[in-house]
């Protein structure tokens, strides 16, 4: 029941246009996050932010396998999922700065971006906090026969939370169209996952009868291929799936986590950066396949840079919500 995805099926049926959109999306996330880091460093951003840099292939590979109206739930490390599902950087930056123009009128912040228009049920600051929500959305999709799928993104830290197993059991019993995407970036805050995770990860899902797959999370083509398979399968009513994506966060747990040597070596970091950068490797592949030349890619990069600049400026200039907002929207 638990399988490692077959790398040969990664390219079937995907055209150049889609490959380039994936490249653009991954680069958008990268640049968005670099701007977040910059905003934080310039003390313009309140609170914390958890950067997704290094993990872009997962959000993009999965979300490009989804319909616009499919649901996603996300985590404290959520910017990548939001963007990959179609969120606007402008409204995201505004939210990160606590501005009224933000997705949540500034009330949610980095860890709670939500957007019905892109099927985003919300990022969640409770580890595994959105597992129930995603599973419930899948129940709605099945009951209302909408053909939607719900994707629940989470870090491997969520494997520690019992509610994940409760929900996988329910999802498999009821054959719900939900996909649990586990982003194993090897650390839960400052602790290596091997210290907190016994046994075999995909077997934990397979034991519930949930289809379990493992994929190289740095390879957007591989992620996309398996995500497409399991999303289609879920849509056909064949039940939930669990997708383990092996990855690495290039930066600290949050923007302020600078001295990391007590929990992971510089050498380890550098090796991932050098060998497994999902964007660099994908760009190489695009070029090797003549899908794009260096110039075309750098045009995309420049366009994105300009877009991010504009978006940051918009957010910085935007006003805070008025004081009377504070007790609005407590109840519907």
């Amino acid at each position: 029941m638990t399988t490692v995805s077959d790398p040969t099926r990664t390219s079937a049926g995907v055209g150049v246009e889609k490959w380039l959109r994936m490249y653009r999306q991954m680069m958008a996330i990268r640049l968005f996050e670099e701007n977040v880091n910059e905003l934080y460093t310039r003390a313009l951003m309140p609170g914390l932010a958890h950067l997704y840099i290094g993990e872009e292939a997962i959000a993009v590979g999965v979300c490009e396998a989804l319909r616009h109206d499919d649901y996603v739930t996300s985590t404290h490390r959520g910017h990548g999922h939001c963007l990959a599902k179609g969120a606007s950087p402008k409204l995201m930056f505004a939210e990160l700065l606590g501005k009224e123009a933000g997705y949540c009128r500034g009330k949610g912040g980095s860890m709670h971006i939500a957007d019905p228009a892109t099927g985003n049920l919300g990022a969640n600051a409770i580890v595994a906090g959105s597992v129930g929500i995603a599973t419930g959305a899948a129940l709605s999709a099945k009951t209302l026969k909408t053909g939607q799928v719900a994707v629940c993104f989470f870090g491997e830290g969520a494997l520690g939370q019992g509610v994940l197993y409760e929900c996988m059991n329910l999802a498999q019993l009821w054959k719900l169209p939900v996909i649990y995407v586990c982003e194993n970036n090897m650390y839960t805050e400052y602790t290596h996952f091997s210290e907190t995770t016994a046994g075999d990860i995909p077997s934990r899902a397979a034991a519930f009868g949930v289809r379990a797959e493992t994929v190289d999370g740095q390879d957007v083509r591989a992620v996309h291929a398996v995500a497409t398979d399991i999303a289609d399968r879920a849509r056909r009513g064949e039940g939930p799936a669990f997708l383990l994506c092996n990855t690495y966060r290039y930066r600290g747990h949050h923007v302020g986590d600078i001295n990391r040597e007590y929990y992971r070596s510089k050498k380890e970091e550098q090796q991932w950066l050098a060998e497994s950068d999902p964007i660099k490797n994908f760009a190489e592949w695009l070029k090797s396949q003549k899908h794009a030349d260096a110039g075309a890619l750098s045009t995309i990069d420049s366009e994105l840079r300009a877009e991010m600049d504009k978006a940051v400026k918009f957010a910085v200039a935007a006003p805070y919500p008025g004081a009377d907002e504070v007790d609005q929207d407590v109840y519907a």
């Binding site: 009128r105 709670h112 939500a114 919300g122 129930g132 709605s140 509610v163 409760e166 929207d329 519907a332």
Partner: protein
Amino acid sequence: MPETGIREITFAEAVREALAEEMRRDSRVFIMGEDVAEAGTPFKVLSGLVEEFGTSRVVDTPISEAGFTGVGVGAAMTGLRPVVDIMFGDFITLTMDQMANQAAKVHYMSGGKWNVPMVMRTTLGAARRSAAQHSQSLHAWFSHIPGLKVVLPSTPYDAKGLLKSAIRDDNPVIFFEDKMSFKLKGPVPEAEYTIPLGVADVKRIGTDITLVGTSSMVQVALEAAVMLEQAGISAEVVDPRTTWPLDEHTLIESVKKTSRAIVIDEGYGRYGVAAEIAATIAEGAFHYLDGPVKRMGAMHVPIPFSPPLEDLTVPTGKTVFDTAMTLCGRS
């Protein structure tokens, strides 16, 4: 309050009727919980519903309170209107993250974009010799959390009208049913009606003292009122019906009239619902009070199994009567 002379049904039947009517009215409403379908719950409150609505709308779950409550939250956000059944109120302990961190906050955190129109039905109340883990009344926890509404029906009439409103409400609403009230009979009209959340009900009019009772304690307050009447004291019994929203106005006005108040709630007496209501009254009717607002609740002990001990832990007509007599300077 219902007119008299109409059909009488039990509290359990009133709950079932409310659910059935709302499920007929709105195909998005469904029930989910442990042994809710063929068994109709251990209390048999839901008997017959699965026969009418089928197992896709009356859904048996595994023993996974956190998981299926979370599923309820997600389903509510995406077009369904779940009624999540938590068999004993003691098991809400397992759902607190889903309720307080998720359900309660989704609307606000999303800047008003997502709603969670879901109802959690559960129980409260001791006196069934069920011991410490099956006898609690933990509604104070939910009442404390902004974003949640909390309903405490005390009669069949209220149960039906409030449950229908709870199901139609676009917020997460927790509906606590007193286990000992399931067999209580009372008038319930056949015609459709709803009772708005946040409106207290004066269950008995009086002039000398206000007895604020919630849920199971409304009947206890009414018993005490009868005893007080024999002693020449006219007690008003006010039932807030919902702890949030809380109808402060009705409570305060009653006490302004009577000058004395006892708040009786079956939750643990310390840091419970009675404290908030008492503090609200003490503040709002300060200049009218002839004596301190008294609070009565469950003793600050885990509920013991042994019958003679369990019976000591919960306020009774007699203990309320005694407290009222003292407060009125009559003993």
